[in-house]
């Protein structure tokens, strides 16, 4: 039996049980709190996650755990200064059963505190801060996306396998970038390479020219970067314009080329990146997911949509195990921990710290797509350093 059938089976069972006991809660709705950005720099990512989440619910007959879903949405603006207050709206005012969010790591950290203090279940559909499933891990805190460490570690391995010995890293001076370059360094140096210089620039500064000059002077075997969004597009353009792309290979975590290839134009062509999702994956789930997504939203899905979709799947798995009753939190958690998620990215399970144990793909940019080249590491689990659970 396929996992989806499992889920459907369990749902049917739950429904039957609910009917048998004549539970008054059977017609109650599941309250889902979506705290995602709908304005500002990450607005497009927030929309993709919401779309993905709602797509799974629609495919599931408009229900989760056999119950109608009621959405409560708050625009988090990617502003950590308002994060606690915004999370409170969903957790304390609307009393949602599950809190889903968000893109920005700082905001996600603030949400995680609110969720933990109020014992609300939370699923992170993007933010990669290592802490969330590291020192801050909690029984009620889940993630359907990745840790900053994961794709970076895989790229460290790939870079070493390609025979590079001397690498320079560059990122913004913020937590995500630093965690990413550390992950890269860990794998790369374990395989015998050497990171000769770790460069950073203030976030969100995009004047890269001084660093490109520095790279040209150092002449490393390769360069590893962590940038995302507009900064990524500008960096790759500048890298090519400085003539470096021809002589020094550029590698990055997948966010470098996700949603930015159109803006990069020619400069993005052929870039190698690692991520837990790719275009051209050979699996039926992905094909169906993409077709459906394109039909509903009139655009192609991206990794963010997948993460939103899987957040819904993960919660569905938990609810199914709890007989569709979101108030049975322990059972929901057990169900989620045990779930095998049939994701468009390929099936994954959760680690003890509640982070996906997943394949990381090596991808190559082609047009506006990141085509899968190979699986860089199969079933990579984050080390969850500092998690006592």
């Amino acid at each position: 039996m396929k996992p989806t059938q499992h889920i459907i089976g369990a749902t049917a069972l739950a429904l039957a049980l609910g009917a048998a006991f004549g539970s008054a809660q059977a017609d109650d709705k599941v309250k889902v709190g979506l705290m995602l950005p709908s304005t500002g720099t990450y607005a497009a990512l927030g929309a993709a996650i919401t779309n993905g989440f709602k797509q799974f619910v629609a495919e599931n007959g408009g229900k989760l755990g056999g119950r109608e879903v009621e959405y409560y949405a708050v625009d988090d603006e990617s502003d950590p200064a308002k994060a606690t207050e915004n999370a409170n709206k969903l957790v304390k005012r609307d009393k949602v059963d599950v809190l889903v969010g968000t893109v920005h790591s700082g905001v996600a950290l603030a949400m995680a505190k609110v969720a933990r203090d109020n014992k609300t279940l939370m699923i992170v559909p993007n933010a990669g801060a290592d802490e969330l499933t590291g020192p801050l891990c909690a029984p009620t805190l889940f993630r359907s996306s990745f840790t900053n460490w994961q794709p970076a570690y895989a790229m460290g391995k790939v870079a070493a396998e390609k025979g590079h010995k001397k690498v320079v890293t560059l990122t913004w001076k913020y937590a995500a970038g630093q965690q990413s370059t550390e992950g890269f360094k860990e794998a790369f140096e374990k395989a015998g390479g050497k990171v000769v210089k770790e460069m950073t620039l203030p976030f969100p500064n995009v004047e890269f020219q001084p660093f490109l000059t520095e790279i040209a002077a150092l002449k490393p075997d390769a360069v590893y970067v962590f940038f995302a969004g507009a900064g990524a597009a500008k960096f790759v353009r500048d890298y090519q314009a400085a003539g470096l792309k021809a002589s020094i290979p550029l590698y990055g975590a997948g966010f470098l080329t996700d949603g930015t290839l159109e803006a990069m134009g020619d400069a993005g062509k052929g870039l190698l990146t690692t991520l837990h999702y790719a275009d051209g994956l050979d699996n039926k789930k992905d094909a169906a997911f993409r077709l459906n997504y394109a039909k509903t939203y009139k655009m192609q899905p991206d990794v963010y949509a997948v993460q939103g979709y899987d957040a819904a799947q993960l919660y569905q798995a938990g609810l199914a195990a709890a007989g569709g009753d979101p108030s049975k939190q322990e059972a929901v958690i057990k169900g989620m921990e045990a779930a095998k998620i049939d994701s468009p990215r390929g099936a994954f399970t959760l680690s003890k710290a509640h982070n996906p144990v997943q394949d990381i793909y090596l991808r190559q940019a082609e047009g506006t797509q990141n085509k899968v080249v190979s699986t860089a590491i199969k079933g990579l689990a984050d080390p969850a350093r500092g998690c006592k659970m």
Binding site: S38, T39, D79, T84, Y174
Partner: protein, 321 residues
Amino acid sequence: MNAHASLIFKLVALAALACVPLSGESFYVELISKMLVMAIFAMSLDLLVGFTGLVSFGHAAYFGIAAYAAALLSPKYDAGNLWLLLPGAVGLSALAAFVIGLFVLRTKGIYFIMVTLAFAQMAYFVFHDTPVGGGSDGIYLNVKPSAAIGGWEPFDLGNGTHQYYFILALMVLVYLFLARVLQSPFGRVLVGIKSNEHRMQSMGYLTYRYKLGAFTLAGALGGVAGFLYAVLFGFVTPELLSWHESGNVLLMVILGGMGNLVGAVVGAFAFEGMRGVFESWTEHWQLLMGGVIVALVLFLPGGLSSLPARIRRALQGGEAK
């Protein structure tokens, strides 16, 4: 509004605020708690903007510094002592305001606006880029400070209601304190500086010192607000020092009507309330917010607290016809 009516208004408002926890809705208690914190913040800025005529566009720095101090000075997994942490955090933001004031008060007018902004940016980068405060992701204040004195614990900040009354009490204290300061000779000099600094100088006042005093005091009181914010939410991020926050608090002051402490409080409540309402209407709420700000500046330069007088004038005008 005459003095009598004004006093009645304040007492009624205070009584209403005191009743909030009776609702038992923890979300709304916390929401009003935050508004009270912002009211303290707005009053502290009003001392500069409304009374001394110094338009600081970097006031969030002092708010943020105290918030970080609260988080960093607290033990990681234990409760800190409120009676040490509060003065410590406020002292640090006062110190920062004093040092920055030494520089920025050498400038005037537009320069002052921009220089205060630039110093706040510098403080922002200290917390964002250096390991001092956990970097861009921010840090937690895991356990709220304890109010215990010896073995006796008068109240518990972990209890939402206690915390609410503590914040309300501090807001009233800050209000009374500022009202008193403004009545004092020091306060009169500040108001004099606002209307005509040259005249004050020719009368022999060393206005630079008075301004520095006001700047430091405002920084300290902004620090009170920042400290309370950290205690309330338990999470501190560099964005608390960003220029958007400095802009927001300026907006609160203007919205209420500057040079009016009650106005600052009204402005803080109105700003937070307006944002909440707009957000619930549309995801393009910033368009509405921006539109209201523009309209406010163009049509209601005296702020909300000038409304009663305007309406009365309009009504009287109508009667006269």
